[in-house]
């Protein structure tokens, strides 16, 4: 099973579908500890991404990710726009001009993505942000690649770990982003960005496993 540009496009389209599907849920989470727009923000961004993909056919995985990056940066309108945008952009740069991604390259991309989010937002693990989904995702991805997993298997391991990481943000107190304005009142609510990160990874993993239709 290969992970070429077409597969990456399919994975991004699946992510867009997930953003649309979970829009209300993500916004509801953001209403508890933010400004109640995370679902709308991501749905708006990924709708724009799909429109771009419909109009062009990027030839390499990196070109797909770069298109996603610039589109999200321009259209999301909230903190998650530059954060996810930087993530996709760093991933694109890290994987270079490879025409296909193996498990190791997925790890390379995911690591760069997480590092990009940290560079942009300065959040540390435990700050109750998307970093708390992405950091365990990167670790699980590396472990899966070490034991010979292909791109889809690595993404799937990452998605599972991200889901656990997102779940584990509930008892944390937010120290970055809008939720940090709430201080202790942010405790007891799951972070919207960590949740969306896990949902996007899950959708991309499933699409990659499906072979890139």
């Amino acid at each position: 099973m290969t992970c070429d540009a077409g597969t990456v496009v399919a994975a991004v389209r699946a992510a867009a579908a997930a953003a649309a599907e979970h829009k209300t849920e993500l916004t509801r989470l953001d209403r508890e500890i933010g400004d109640g727009d995370h679902g709308e923000n991501l749905a708006r961004g990924f709708t724009a991404v799909v429109a771009k993909l419909d109009a062009s056919a990027p030839e390499t995985p990196a070109a797909v990710l770069k298109l996603v990056a610039t589109t999200l940066i321009s259209t999301v309108g909230g903190a998650s726009g530059p954060l996810y945008g930087t993530a996709f952009l760093r991933a694109a740069t890290a994987i270079g001009d490879a025409s296909e991604l193996d498990g190791a390259l997925v790890v390379t991309g995911l690591t760069a993505a997480r590092d990009g989010v940290v560079a942009r937002g300065k959040a540390e693990p435990g700050d109750k942000t998307m970093v708390d989904a992405l950091t365990p995702a990167v670790q699980a991805a590396a472990a899966a690649a070490d034991s010979g997993g292909d791109a889809a298997a690595v993404l799937s391991a990452a998605a599972d770990a991200a889901a656990e990481g997102a779940e584990a943000t509930t008892p944390l107190q937010a120290r970055k982003g809008r939720a940090s304005y709430l201080g202790e009142r942010s405790i007891g609510h799951r972070d919207p960005g960590a949740t969306s990160a896990s949902l996007l990874l899950r959708a991309m993993a499933d699409a990659a496993a499906g072979g890139g239709a």
Partner: protein, 141 residues
Amino acid sequence: MSVGIVLVSHSAQLAAGVLEVAQQMAPGVRIVAAGGMEDGGIGTSFDTITAAVQQADDGDGDGVVLLYDLGSGYLTTETAVEFLEPELGERVTIVDTPFVEGAVSAALTASFGADRKAVVSAALEARTANGPGGVRSVDEM
């Protein structure tokens, strides 16, 4: 129900914009914009401020916190507060704090049902835009 918030500004747009941003994070709070002069020009209006305080007061005794955008707005604000019915005037506090940042903090704190003192305290603690970056001293340039 909760402490009300009045945003006194020299500009109607400025007050309305801060209201928009603060209300998004604290949908249930009574935030009232008192910006600009009655003819829409730049300046502060005694009558607009007076009406805004009356509107922001929930009648339950929680009171109202007023923020103003520039020093000269304080003079009109204080005068308006002095002219209120004493019974209302005594549950009103004017705070000297950054306008946007104080408004967001005050609104959020009011949304938790905090009392006026806690809302004032939150407004006073808001000091900068508070991003993960932006220079905080010229040495960082």
